[in-house]
Amino acid sequence: MNGLIEGLQPFTLLLTAVGVVLGLVIAAIPGLTVSLAVVLLLPFTFYLPASPALGMLIGVFVGGMAGGAISAILLNIPGNPASIITTRDGYPMAKEGRADVALGIAFLSSILGGAFSLLVLCLVAPQIAKFALLFGAAEQAMLVLLGLTLVAGFSEGSIIRGLISAGLGLAIATIGLDPITASMRYTFDIVELQQGISFIPVMIGMFALPVAIQSLVRTGENSLPSAIPVASAQLGVRTAIASLRQLWGCILRSSAIGTTIGAIPGTGSAIAAILSYQYAERLSKNRTVEFGKGNPEGIAAPEAANSALTGGALIPMLILGIPGDPVTAVMLGALLIQGLTPGFTLFRDSTEIVYGLFASFGISLALLTIISLLGIPLFVKVIRIPARVLMPTIVLLCIIGSYALQNSVLDVWVMLSAGVLAYYMQRWNYPILPLLLALILGKIFETQFRMSLIIALGDPLIFVKKPISLAFVVLLVSFLVWTMRREFLHSQNSERSAVPTSSPASNNAHEVKGK
């Protein structure tokens, strides 16, 4: 109850609304992402109390997940990776003159998907938190290792590159004072490095600067296509509500998929959206319009799934301290800035903050309902703003945001280096999320890992002697074997499929050259 009161405080309510609008607007602009929106707001949370700060961030998360659909439906350009699949049916429906209905279905599905995941979060999270209190040092160390491996394995590119990225993050996390003996490591006599490399400037640089570099590279490219006009947003939402009877099964199923996928670290909203779309296509009873040509379920499924991911992703972040995606990684950062330690003790020690966050989540969904009804005409205008118009301001905010953390210029250099590194890592298909998560969790992992060894007098079998820790090790090994087998089979298949097509083509090319 106190949590609900926290969430309903006027200042918290105001910032939650600001978050929802900003999330919607930024995610609707092609080229800008929810992660970027959350990162840009992070410096503001340094100066705010915990509840309004978290309310604002959850508002951005909820608004951003819904906002991606606007440009997907009206421009055929997804606002975020999760909305890629929404373009398949959203844009054809909009082209038929039913853009308002497509947006109505997208928003309604987002709201219901989010509400489903909030319900699951409220019911499941406290129970898992009670179980997680049984974790000792060995269990925590193996849990972090499992989380990092999952993120590395599910990220884009190969698992080897994901693990290299995680290794880089762990290496950066060792800079500064040793957490157990307090001796200096990798500080090279630089006083500012004694406190270690903060993950906040790294996060700001890694999410924002690659977008700025891309905007500079694409200067002079063709502008966006013209957006399809929306007749009446209110009518669209009303029509969507009227068609809820046909869509509820699809929305419920997709919400369950989104919540489950969200709870697995590293999987991401795109996977949830694609998987739910595939299920909708397979199980749909509504075949009056084909999938890919404007079927309402083709919009409802991905949008419900990507919004449901919000609640799912909060489960491992809040209970285990392992963020599953970039947005929850930033939220974890916000919790740490507030002096709170995410993990199973959070539910015991800061109940009001946790339930305040849940309340803000529910309020964000209610606000999304109102804003989606009133604000669609505004968002239709906003999506025409090219990302590069906002980039100079974003770069300035990055400099201020990284400096503001500790009033340290070193943090600005860290942000800059991280941004450049992230751009080229992404160019060469090295995921950046494992690096970030490893940097955040590195100190905890090292402390628990070494504490386990100290308790066991150096016996490494401590990690398999305890049943919960053993279960994590078994999961870890199984996941590694499964991922490597999958990647090996994939490479074999691509080689096999390339041989018959490439050989004759290359032979022909030689023949032509010979002639």
């Binding site: 590119g157 762990l170 570099i213 590279v217 200067t219 590069r388 301001t393 300035l396 400099i399 060469w428």
Partner: protein, 154 residues
């Protein structure tokens, strides 16, 4: 040589240096064997092995001519000059802004950064860029310095 081989090779080299530095960390009698150097040594070994494996995989992949270039998970195309120029420009502008704040103050330096980036990103006409740059710098100064009390003297 393609960047897809150079990058993991550089990481492997860095892992060796990182592990080598870790050997010099003091060992405590209480936790001898698992002192401050233990964790970095694990990381160095793991990252080093993985980076070398990636070098081998990419070298083998590059030597196989029958793989369809569109199927490769890392494009063969190297970084373009345009990308390098964009990166250098952004780095130079941020570095210049940080130093300029010390000498000319936040508002002129921040206006300069926003104006230069606006021009580089193709925002026209110039007077609109100039005016919006000053407005952005003033707003940022008002919010962070005026409202939040942050001292914007780097």
């Amino acid at each position: 040589m393609a960047a897809r081989i150079i990058f993991p090779a550089v990481i492997a080299l860095l892992a060796v240096m990182y592990g080598w530095i870790a050997q010099g960390f003091p060992s405590m009698s209480l936790d001898e064997g698992f002192g401050p150097g233990l964790f970095p040594a694990f990381i160095a070994a793991t990252v080093g092995v993985l980076a070398l494996a990636e070098v081998v995989i990419q070298s083998v992949s590059a030597s196989r001519s029958n793989i369809d270039p569109t199927q490769r998970d890392i494009p063969l195309v190297s970084i373009s000059l345009r990308e390098l120029a964009a990166t250098c420009l952004l780095v130079a502008l941020i570095v210049a802004t940080v130093f300029a704040i010390r000498y000319v103050g936040f508002i002129p330096a921040a206006s300069g950064l926003v104006f230069a980036l606006s021009l580089a990103m193709g925002m026209r006409p110039i007077w609109v860029s100039a005016l919006s740059s000053i407005a952005v710098a003033l707003s940022a100064h008002f919010i962070f310095s005026g409202l939040f009390g942050l001292v914007l003297a780097f």
